[in-house]
């Protein structure tokens, strides 16, 4: 018997989900892949992975009717973990794909790293978190991104990292967490973060 909430990993067709599924299995859960809007809206916990471009990611979500389902989830504070491009897709827009509207659940806009740094940012960077963080934590996390937001979204507790400038490494509220880094690829640091999120999701689901 699965002890945790049902965890649905969103299959958008552009994200490679193998690492996310493996990490969730190592955390003792039995995740399932789905691209059905009803699953994404109603599952106990949802992971939105993401690689690829903002435009292709949004197109995949919109084609499947998942954008509205995700917006509903975040607005009703249902347990959700958004990773890398998944975090950006929850926002309003990205300079990567001008004119494409994001899910719009988070008040965030993403722009390309500039200045004297290598882009994409690829590698391990140290994350520092605001004191109120419960799931995000300080430590070295693996990033692979060219776009970032510099502004903390209102009403969320943030983690920060620096690549030329300080940017938002992640944000959380209740059992919703968005990470610009890849917790599934961030070794023990990431595994612990995923476990804290599963614990928070479990409390949220059982409290309902």
């Amino acid at each position: 018997m699965n002890s945790g909430p049902e965890i649905v990993v969103v299959r958008t067709g552009v994200a490679n989900t193998a690492a996310v599924l493996a990490a969730l299995r190592r955390a003792g859960t039995r995740p399932v892949l789905s691209d059905r809007a009803s699953d994404v809206r109603d599952a106990g916990a949802v992971v939105l992975p993401g690689v690829g471009s903002f435009g292709s990611g949004m197109r995949a979500l919109a084609d499947l009717g998942l954008d509205a389902a995700l917006r509903d989830r975040v607005r009703s504070s249902r347990p959700t973990l958004a990773i890398c491009l998944g975090m950006q897709l929850l926002g309003l827009e990205s300079a990567e794909s001008p004119g494409v509207e994001g899910v719009g659940a988070i008040d965030a806009r993403f722009e390309r790293f500039d200045g004297d740094v290598r882009v994409p940012q690829i590698g391990w960077n140290d994350v520092e978190v605001e004191p109120a963080a419960r799931i995000l934590a300080g430590g070295d996390a693996y990033f692979a991104n060219s776009f970032r937001t510099l502004d903390a979204p209102q009403g969320w507790t943030c983690g920060w990292a620096t690549h030329g400038v300080a940017f938002v490494a992640g944000f959380e509220r209740g059992a919703i967490v968005a990470c610009q880094f890849h917790p599934e690829l961030s070794g023990a640091y990431g595994a612990q973060l995923i476990e804290r999120w599963i614990d928070a999701a479990r409390r949220e689901v059982f409290a309902c």
């Binding site: 193998a18 493996a22 990490a23 299995r25 994409p120 990033f143």
Partner: protein
């Protein structure tokens, strides 16, 4: 701040690790899942799997190896060898790779870099360049280094960046397996003329060589036999990098 990465490389043939001098005279160095797990536990920042199989049977084992390694390690996995098109890249990513390394196929069809980068993201698109010194410069070699081309390696790195590659895996082919250290001048030239991350490869025998490569501008250092032979561990290397003022992941 971004940390410098230490990346063990597993050259795979038919599901087993092999490693030799200048890509030839291969000898068996073990099981990739065991090795990848060991290196991850030692603090490896990433694992690179290069499929050097000459046969179709060998290639067939590749996806199963990727899946098995992916299930065990919680760090990034780059896979190269035999990627000729988007379908091939997709198969590797679906099996559990986080990045694919393009080499000969990109030299033959540079547009492949752009197609893969746009489809899967620049962060998943590594251009692997095998460079050999010719006169004052370096020329690109293809087909696991067996075939020389007239293409200038530094110019090819710049072109790959303009075609939207996300990272450069730069191997000094004529140093690979020689234990004489990385090709520092080549690293300096490529790192100073590109803005995407550069991984140094080919010739590492000591942590000192890695310090030199990082000082020459590499963002990451890759090595194979020194880890496989147990001469040193990833943890030992990182301790020495740290002592030399390099920021590494603890």
């Amino acid at each position: 701040m971004l940390k410098r990465r230490v990346i063990p490389c597993l050259d795979i043939d038919g599901g087993r690790i092999v490693k030799g001098l200048r890509f030839a005279s291969l000898r068996d160095a073990g099981d990739p899942v065991e090795r990848a797990t060991l290196y991850a536990a030692q603090g490896a920042d990433e694992i690179v799997l290069l499929d050097v199989s000459a046969t179709l049977e060998g290639r067939g084992a590749q996806l199963a190896t990727i899946t098995a390694v992916r299930e065990r390690i919680a760090i990034p996995l780059t896979v190269g060898g035999g990627v000729h098109d988007e379908a091939g890249a997709r198969a590797l990513l679906e099996a559990g790779a986080d990045k694919v390394a393009l080499n000969s196929a990109a030299v033959a069809d540079p547009g492949l870099i752009t197609r893969i980068s746009r489809r899967f993201g620049a962060q998943a698109c590594v251009i692997a360049i095998d460079a050999a010194r010719v006169g004052e410069g370096w020329r690109v070699r293809v087909r696991s280094g067996s075939t020389a081309t007239s293409r200038d390696a530094v110019e090819w790195a710049r072109e790959a960046e303009s075609l939207e590659a996300g990272e450069i895996l730069l191997t000094a082919w004529d140093r690979d397996g020689t234990r004489s250290g990385y090709e520092l001048e080549l690293l300096r030239r490529v790192a100073s003329r590109t803005r995407i991350p550069v991984i140094a490869s080919g010739g590492a025998a000591t942590a000192r060589h890695m310090v030199d490569a990082l000082r020459a501008g590499a963002d990451a250092v890759l090595a194979a036999s020194i880890f496989h032979d147990g001469e040193t561990s990833v943890a030992d290397v990182k301790r020495i990098l740290l002592e030399n003022g390099m920021e590494v992941r603890a």
